[in-house]
Symmetry: D2
């Protein structure tokens, strides 16, 4: 028996999760919702994915364009075991009542508050916490990135200070700026530290900045250690951490541009770089402080988490079995 999955919202995250679902042997994609018949909707149809209107209010748009939908969100909810809410931040909380009423489990994304779900989730950090749950929140791309590497060195952490340099808009988003400025979150520490703490109990503070780029976030991480650790140990640890990859500037990885080029060279779908990219040369320890720099592909790093969350919620596999299946199906390198 395959778990029947619906996706509410077929944008940057939704379409990637939909694709990932189709790559699993224990899941079936039932349908996706759209608010308008744009090229992404046509592409879904071309792929044979049933497209539902995200609400009755959107039906006229589809009718006017002659785009036949399979129904509305409520129709979709009747057919699925779980809905992945990939709507814009804050809407998931509003949708929750609808999912509850329909009696379907739901996964929310990091744009929702932690309180929207029973557990906040990063597979390699707390898979077990989501076992059997009805409502799970996959944390944001940045938080996922922090947790992937920090959970790997968690036992050494006394305190973390992370500075996040964030892309201002996704490649497909032409509405948002800035075009030529740096915009700080002036409230320091920023909200990302507490968000990490919804998954792993570490002492962490962060600050965040928006810069005019579209392709990846970058994190400058400093860890105050509570027991000795050398740079080569950290390299070993990260080499053995799933969904974390080391990249060398010496091989030409000078910026986020070459990391994306790496994903393109692999012919990854949408140049997804599901793995967190750590610059190997940046890993250093001075006294009791560990430093490293990592980059996060905001469009895709949470995709495997959504798949693993489904398995945990239906208790379909244990942690490492799920991670292994997800990794293998998506071509995640390790």
């Amino acid at each position: 028996m395959k778990v029947k999955v619906g996706i509410n919202g077929y944008g940057t995250i939704g379409k990637r999760v939909a694709y990932a679902v189709t790559r699993q042997d224990d899941m079936k994609l039932i349908g996706v919702t759209k608010t308008k018949p744009d090229f992404e909707a046509y592409r879904a149809k071309e792929l044979g994915i049933p497209v539902y209107a995200a609400g009755e209010e959107f039906l006229p748009r589809f009718e006017n364009a002659g785009f036949e939908v399979a129904g509305t969100l409520s129709d979709l909810l009747e057919k699925v075991d779980v809905i992945v809410d990939a709507t814009p931040g804050g809407m998931g909380a509003k949708n929750k009542a609808v999912y509850e009423k329909a009696g379907v489990k739901a996964i929310f994304q990091g744009g929702e508050k932690a309180s929207t779900a029973e557990v906040s989730f990063v597979a390699q950090a707390n898979y077990e916490k989501a076992l059997g749950k009805d409502y799970v929140r996959v944390v944001s791309c940045n938080t996922t990135g922090l947790i992937r590497t920090l959970s790997a060195v968690q036992e050494y952490i006394d305190y973390v200070y992370a500075v996040m340099i964030r892309r201002a808009a996704d490649p497909n988003d032409i509405k948002h700026g800035p075009i030529n400025a740096i915009k700080p979150s002036v409230t320091v520490p920023s909200h990302h530290g507490p968000d990490v703490q919804t998954v792993i109990p570490i002492n962490i503070e962060t600050s965040a900045f928006v810069v005019p780029t579209t392709i990846m976030h970058v994190h400058s991480i400093m860890v105050e250690l509570k027991k000795p650790l050398e740079a080569k140990d950290v390299i070993d640890i990260f080499e053995n951490t799933t969904r974390v990859l080391l990249f060398e500037k010496e091989k030409g990885f000078e910026s986020t541009a070459q990391l994306i080029e790496f994903a393109r060279d692999l012919h990854r779908e949408w140049n997804n770089l599901y793995e967190i990219a750590v610059w190997k040369e940046s890993i250093s320890v001075r006294g009791n402080r560990l430093f490293y720099i990592q980059a996060v592909h905001q469009e895709s790093d949470v995709v495997p988490e959504n798949i693993d969350a489904i398995r945990a919620m239906f208790e379909m596999a244990d942690k490492w079995e799920s991670i292994r299946k997800t990794n293998q199906s998506l071509g995640i390198l390790k």
Copy 2:
């Protein structure tokens, strides 16, 4: 018997042509050259592609990195029937003597002068001119884009004025600016008009501007017609023109960003958009003037031309057979 192909230069164009060669049933990729052992070189090796040093002077770099090469360019030249020169603009002309001495045919890219080769080439416009030739130049990405659409309406053209708004650097190139300025080619008309004339004999003048974007060029084209033509005729013509696609703003194609997203949604390798993208709504005729706007994916539009040029040079197929084979092998939509 398959034609044995080498690629001199495994960068933006070279790696795409190499990939395209591996997709042909009548060609065999013998090897590629690199000047340094960067991640692209490692990727080639992973793919089982023999990597040669682009010259003896580069051997120490590979040796120091412990990267084993299959030889140097001269070794590669001994094994191939044709070399695709994908070196930086201007270097091809210098390399020509080496190719001549080795007795191999050669394809040059648009960064070289027309006089470097016997013929300048765009498959759908002048395939036959390259039949049996030893030296063929595939024209630049911009010139290819102009010729694809203009050759389709060639009989109607009295005069063309095209304004090219060019991306300043490729996605993988972080060296070049500008970051926040528009840079005109102050010599008007620019060199692109005469370059078009190396392939089709039309009356054309152009101007060109560099702007801070990495993903696509855009052309604003105005054609003075010598006989009547309506917008709907042009739509028909372009719908029946190979390697040209119509995109509608109404479906969400508001900018070059969504065109690239379309290629990503198709899971095209490196988000290649081999086809020239014409905005359907932009096609209009007022009096004796036709207007339209098109976008060019500078990283990939010349790739199919390189493949077709090989077939023409070895007289392996006639024009439409070659175009059909190339299109099918690369997933080109029409």
Copy 3:
């Protein structure tokens, strides 16, 4: 007697016009309006300019911040002879009824429709048309730029095709993108041609593109001539045209960045470049076609027009006297 001037909207255009008014010996700045007490409002106060709330609904914002205003827009209207409406595009039309009721003359900006005012205005092209009028529209930055140079060669024009490459946002605007894309106006010809025709009766068609830069627009202009003209004649004409300056790439003016640097080197307030910048080397004539490239500083080129419009509306000076006074007071080079 000085004309009493109020400014409704103290943003990019409003603050520059306010400054310009203070530089005139025949005008008096009575006050400006703001919707919120931001740093621009504080700066106005520092300069001794009375600040009014743009409406009663905005008063609480000022009160909460402890920022004392001099009243609201209606109070300001009681004290002025003319109001310069520098509100966001489209709001001017709505404000007109208020101005009419208050019995004050009004100047609108290019974001309003031509029908909002009795005349659309560029001083050097049609100053006389505005004499004694109550409602005048200063056309947009792009339209002003086109008219400054085209009116200088008007008698030679058979047809104009202009391509506008537009900055996506002003330097102070961090909300708007795109960050990495080119966005065409897919309706060709664009609305700019008809807008030019509200001032000068020439045959003109245009297309327009938005690109990720903040500092200047650039226009690529092609004129089909109805009588012979040589490039050197055009250079002579432009050298004798007010508010048009020739710049040479040879002297380092390679892009819009160096044009702004020129204004900064002059210590112009806000690096205003009131003059339209034409690249001298770009001026060329081939057959019956004239080509040239110009750049427009969108933040400031319409400022002198607002001043001249005031003089025309109150019949304070004839055309060349007003232009001379305005130029001299603002340091316009010619």
Copy 4:
């Protein structure tokens, strides 16, 4: 008697220092050097500043352009008491021998190694160290920014970790990228920490990133305190620190764009923001850690330091007298 000052290199820094010299009542600008007759050279001439060729090898360029120079660098050196070396990074060290031979004192910029000069200099931190010296290095824009604020809280500092988000190119520089990427300095800690230590003896580590913007650098600073300090104390301290200004997001200072707009609104020459801009809301203390965010106008923050350095080298004024004179002459707010 006024000190006679020459400027070697009339680019971004050189032209600003030249201007600043002309604003001092105890200095006289003798001349500046250029390598080519570009618009900056013409502007210097317009301002009545003698222009010298930066070397004999550059004379033909000036001759060909009909630009009359006042001589070469060696002629200039004969006439001055001190030369401000504002040549590109690394050239100053090479020029030092020439200055020594000519027997003139010299100021170097932060692109040179500390060992090039006798002392590295930030006026408010170590003015006295430069008294009577022959060779002084004004540290880089970023290092100056760090020292201005950190020296004000120096007695509280146990350890500093600063992350620098750097503009990729100056507004006038269209050669350098990246256009759409973030580029880390992968060697962590970066060289900026040791550079701070050439001026003040604090325990500091840094990391650095280049992002696609041209207008300002931003620093995210975390200080581990060795004695208690509250946010309001830090606000008090910074309010009383020269060349440091507090800006509030609440007043509209959301990004670096509005900081530059502030300087433009002041009609500062070249929109210079000589002062370091600290976001008031960002100042916070949590436990023993102080956080704050600041921005640095890379084109101008070192200009007052160059002026103060001259006074120190000739023992023309004591520290606070010099700072006061420099501030007043340049309109520095405090």
